[in-house]
Symmetry: D2
């Protein structure tokens, strides 16, 4: 083994810089036998100067993927496949089937009258509707109806099932989960519902009607679970909110007019491991570049434009999905001079913030804009 | 002094029951000289079996008070009066000018083009609009426009001024403050604004537009003050919210369909010392009686009906104000079989809850309804 | 009534300054009939420029009171008196039997073998031991043994009883409660224990042994009540802590080396309505003057010296008790050049802080020292 | 690529069970070209029924490793090696140099008069002293002296340096860090201190003297950082605390008498990503088996015994280190009938709890004891 032993030397004061010698190599072999190693051989690798993400920036274009998603309907049955999903497989993260960082995402299709079997797991999920009518989700007995750009939470540990009503149309949506993260934490459990489906025990959309009222909380009700009781977040009030907020803010230089989806009981993130936001790029807006820790998966909810990520341009239009890896420079450009563009973003900010790992930095040169490479 | 000395004896085990004797009376006189006293003479008074409020239930009928409020316009100028306000003077609390418990309330009138001078104080306040158009309030440079059944916060320590725009109409509203409480806590400070008015530094209604979006928070903004950043709570979305909530709740047996106004940054009360709620009594609804600690001042925002408080009936209709003292039994009746009735309530629940002093009890007899006395 | 009607005019812009006229006096009478009043007649009274406490500064000297406390043993039986307590009756607060502000305090005596009957109430209490051995308190079945300068909590709603073991000596202690405050909030309930005494269900001093370990918490135990689980705070570790802290702090210019007693589960106050602190004045220390809202009752745990309160000197020595009313200037002087002095302080800071009513101000003139008046 | 394509079929309802066909394999190839994949080929892998840790249980025996650690003094200089550390390399986690899960640990040696250069990083660390005198650590200018079984925090982002005073002896200690985790989160930054060492700006051990006082907090000081201000936790008061707690608890059936080290400002974990506890196994104690999510690294602070982990026995004595991977069954046995044994444990419980991923289960069979395999 000594022949191929790793040694990451740097000629910088305060960093490891030990040359391999026959004596040391023999010592390393001896340490191996005790399930141990010499830190100085790996210190510079495991203590990098700054993060270097394993993920690469990618755009998944809907015009490319849509037909493949639809084709899955012919190729597999829901019974055999469990769910007909095409997942986004970041070239740097194929070992964990992640779209970016520790976030999984997939595109799912369901025909009218179909329903997936109910299950639950420790991974947390969202379902963001892309097209079709009649989609619904049941979470712990609460049924939510869903339209385009609405999204629904299926948090850690909740029974859930997705379906499309018989009078609906074929629906496509994006799933987003923290499966890779929960697996990495060695904390994922999975159960199939004993009845394969849930009884609906409440008025349809009751949680959003009860908790989704600005400045008002249902008297006598408490909510102390780790996720939002609101479950469903609708597009229409979100877009209206962005419009109102835009009237009284200059916006962020890096993100335009941006709002975070929150748990109304805490004003914190919608779930403990996944956050979500919607941002509006005003007509012609070109934001300044910055970078931050955490992994970000964008879904173009409205409009067209492009983003520059680590100096490379990625064009996008409605329904495209793209990712920004941790500590990657990025800036966004609305491609229209007359219409706004809206980006939905799924991320692991709640993890980064809860654990004190969030950091950000503005791109200082060139007026805040990256040179293209 | 010994002659009139108080002595609250009770013939119950565990309670004080000491007869006055000449020796004891001489002893009490001696204690007086050292600014001291014998606990057993007052113990039963200061440790009552249960609260007995000094406040009495009252209804202030708008049809009685409105003309007197309007008459103040003829009688005093704003310059001399400060503000033209008729305050509600609970017969049991005239020593502290309170409407109920430690809550002050008044009815104020202002003509188009008038504006009160800006000031601030440690007392917290709300302004609940009763009639007229063109009312506005400025709080720390944020201007809010106000219509009927809207209310605005002017929290502890904020500069504030009320006005009516020149193109408006005569406005009447209810003020509600914790002046008596803050005085009792010996913590009230008062300042007149050096310029007597504030510059408006933000878009009109910016705080409600920024913070008043269900399930969404402005990205990058934090709010850690002790009061809500929302400042203004409007009637239209409140009434809509009650309607939605009514679709998915049975309501409280004691309060019908009830929502509490909250600070969206915490889901806690709108201010640290004053809380507010709006409740809908459905057509024909007659709630069950209960009682709880804390002081409650109701304002009839919509409809007509009556409440039974400690066995006595109090009829009310739109714009009437009535109070429920601490630990008083009370139940509410909507007088209409076809329309809902809505009660706005200002209270000191945030104080009772923050200090561990809240307690409640259901009326158990007679199907939950008090016999009339 | 018009003849004696109050009217608090001030000739300051922004303040009420309305002259009584026959027309206005008639108007005021009319308002009276509707349980209402004209704000401008009382506005300047209820909105003062700054707090003016009803309490006056007082020192209760132990050498004066001790014999009277002991004499109560001859004068009344525990059965008839409930408890043999001489309470401190601030000349400005005799209406509510308070020592200062809304805080009640008394000196209690108990002979060996005596025990008071168990009861509970909404008022929160502490018991601070002054002299004697064998004192103990039982709180919700937890028994605590107590020596001089130890204190024990009997929080809101807990069953409690005090006693002195048969092999002890006559004990004197200071009680401190928020009885006046809880009465003012109309939230006081009182119950005698059905058995008149409690069974002890735990190891003696278990709560302090379990929770009183710096930097360590009992694994698997949670505490979410509004008061500290520690129940007893002992003098020896407190004095040791002050000594350690003194090695690494300059202390407060106003309070010397000061630590606050806390609930170890939250680092917040020991109870929701009462706070406590212990401060060490180093040999010869003379603090600078400041003032703050809230009411403060000091107990001299060690040493001698004096305090200057609102310009008047109050000498004190071990076991004396003195008070500082809200917003009163005060500074402390250790009378010894060689020994430290320690002041225990019971206060309502938790209320002031929880409700946003705390404010403080340094005395800026004369090097921070008040001129004597 | 199709030839070796993975496919994790399960013949269970609700799970993926799709047979490879030429058509499907071609489809999978097509998806590859779009950085996408078919979920049903990997779903059963990424959604396991329960966690299966990559880490294996290991005991690192001090008698085996100590000489190798000491030998590093001869083999490398501190200047070249940075730090002379032998790290614990779990056979299942050599790719990330972890001792267990995402936790790194190493044994470090330092001679009298040596000091490592100051640096900081996003990883959080503890240093647990094993032998020697004169060890010290400086954290953000605060110097702490350290003896056996003391440990010190060097939290995320703090400047820190370790040394041994010239009058001390050769010191060995265990380092514990979350390096693998912070790397996995792609959030690790590293800086060498510009001066290579820090000025000490406070009294020695000031933070423990200020914050390490049970039931007392320094008045006027606030601490809102994500880690404990106490920095150093000493063995003597810890062992005393365990002894006191043991007098009033039956202990946990799974862990004996166990206390968690906490941030005194919050009663929460000492750092956001790493937790620590000390547990006492009473003479002869044999705990029952359970399992929970999270990764645990034990250090035998006192005594000898063995643990059974996933049915295999691991003997240990003072200074040995062993690990329990996520969801592994484990029970502990004190090998002495007369003396207690104490286990220090470093873990990622704060992460598991903050993110809602903690779960535990008791071993129900065989009286709670695992059969040996």
């Amino acid at each position: 083994m000594s022949g191929s032993r790793e040694n990451h030397r740097e000629d910088v004061i305060g960093r490891a810089n030990v040359e391999d010698t026959p004596e040391l190599l023999a010592y390393y072999d001896e340490l191996d036998r005790h399930s141990a190693g010499a830190l100085w051989t790996v210190a510079n690798k495991i203590e990098p100067w700054q993060p270097k993400s394993q993920s690469v920036p990618v755009v998944w274009r809907y015009r490319d993927l849509r037909e493949h998603v639809l084709r899955s309907v012919q190729l597999v049955t829901p019974e055999k496949a469990g769910r007909r999903v095409i997942y986004l497989n970041n070239p740097g993260r194929t070992d964990v089937s992640a779209a970016v960082g520790w976030i999984y995402a997939g595109l799912q299709v369901m025909n009218p009258g179909e329903v997936a079997s109910a299950h639950r797991h420790s991974a947390s999920a969202i379902r963001f509707i892309m097209e079709g009518s009649g989609a619904y989700t049941v979470v712990d007995g609460h049924k939510m109806t869903l339209g385009a750009n609405d999204f629904v939470l299926t948090p850690n540990g909740t029974w859930h099932e997705h379906g499309v009503s018989a009078d609906g149309t074929t629906c496509l949506w994006q799933d987003g989960l923290d499966i890779p993260f929960v697996n990495a934490m060695e904390a994922n459990f999975y159960e199939v519902h004993p009845d394969l489906s849930q009884a609906v025990g409440y008025a349809v959309d009751d949680m959003t009607k009860t908790w989704g009222n600005a400045g008002l909380t249902p008297a006598g009700q408490r909510w102390s679970k780790g996720y939002s009781p609101m479950f469903k977040y609708e597009w229409a009030p979100t877009y209206e909110a962005l419009g109102k907020f835009a009237q009284c803010t200059d916006g962020s230089p890096f993100d335009g007019v941006m709002m975070e989806y929150v748990n109304p009981a805490t004003n914190g993130p919608v779930m403990q491991t996944l956050g979500a936001s919607m941002q509006m790029l005003r007509p012609g807006e070109h934001t300044r570049a910055h970078r931050h820790t955490g992994s970000y998966l964008y879904h173009v909810a409205k409009g067209r434009g492009h983003s520059i990520i680590n100096g490379k341009r990625f064009d996008w239009q409605e329904r495209d999905i793209f990712c920004v890896p941790s500590w990657a420079w990025h800036e966004h450009v609305n491609g229209s001079a007359s219409d706004d563009a809206c980006l939905f973003c799924l991320n692991d900010l709640p993890v980064m913030r809860a654990l004190g790992l969030y950091r950000e930095e503005a791109f200082g040169d060139n007026g805040g804009h990256q040179p293209l490479v």
